[in-house]
Assembly symmetry: C2
Homo-oligomer: 136 residues x 2
Amino acid sequence: MPVPPLPDDVAALLARPNPAVMATVAADGRPVTVATWYLLEDDGTVLLNLDGGRARLAHLHRDPRVSLTALAEGDWYTHVSVQGTVVSVTDDGDLADIDRLSIHYTGHPYPNRDRPRVSVRVRVDRWHGWGAAAQG
Amino acid sequence: MPVPPLPDDVAALLARPNPAVMATVAADGRPVTVATWYLLEDDGTVLLNLDGGRARLAHLHRDPRVSLTALAEGDWYTHVSVQGTVVSVTDDGDLADIDRLSIHYTGHPYPNRDRPRVSVRVRVDRWHGWGAAAQG
């Protein structure tokens, strides 16, 4: 699988508010998937943001490896998967990160202000593209 | 997380040709995600079908645990994740299974007839729903 930096067309695809699914590994080693918002940052890392009570946070503290597949809206034969490693887990105390994600996906700040949120930054270690994002 | 049998509304959602992402665990323990077709069978198992050369087949022989997240088309806040165990891996010699999947998703038999395909059947061990598929 190719390694970063991401080609411009792949980065451009990932920069859109695509439907996406992330996977973590649970304590017993089983994979766990869930739909997620994500944001490709200018430095090439991927921002995720979780409710502070999620079991996935425990997964990520135990094993920082994650995988994320983003589906191109309206053409999900085109999809990009990135595998990476969590490089930071921080409280999103002022909800600035979840608001960035929410605005990216919905155009509006995140409506639920009463739950603690946690920001997770993932360094992309490798990636794989299909369809219009297939590597040469 | 709830265990099967799936409630009727969740089964009905999974029965549609939804965009979906599956996760397996690689030899080094990292999670690996990729977009996939799937079919919920009448007996409650989930049919997947892979190109015979995929690394994921080796993953599944080593660790038969998979996770799949299906996104409701046009409303991907509604999504269902199932975690399960591979109960059979069989050659799809006559391409009957990939044709069933292809017809389910595209209305047409699978166009690529020259690659070996493998059918994977997954027993659902637990599931989790969000949005319109949230459990009570």
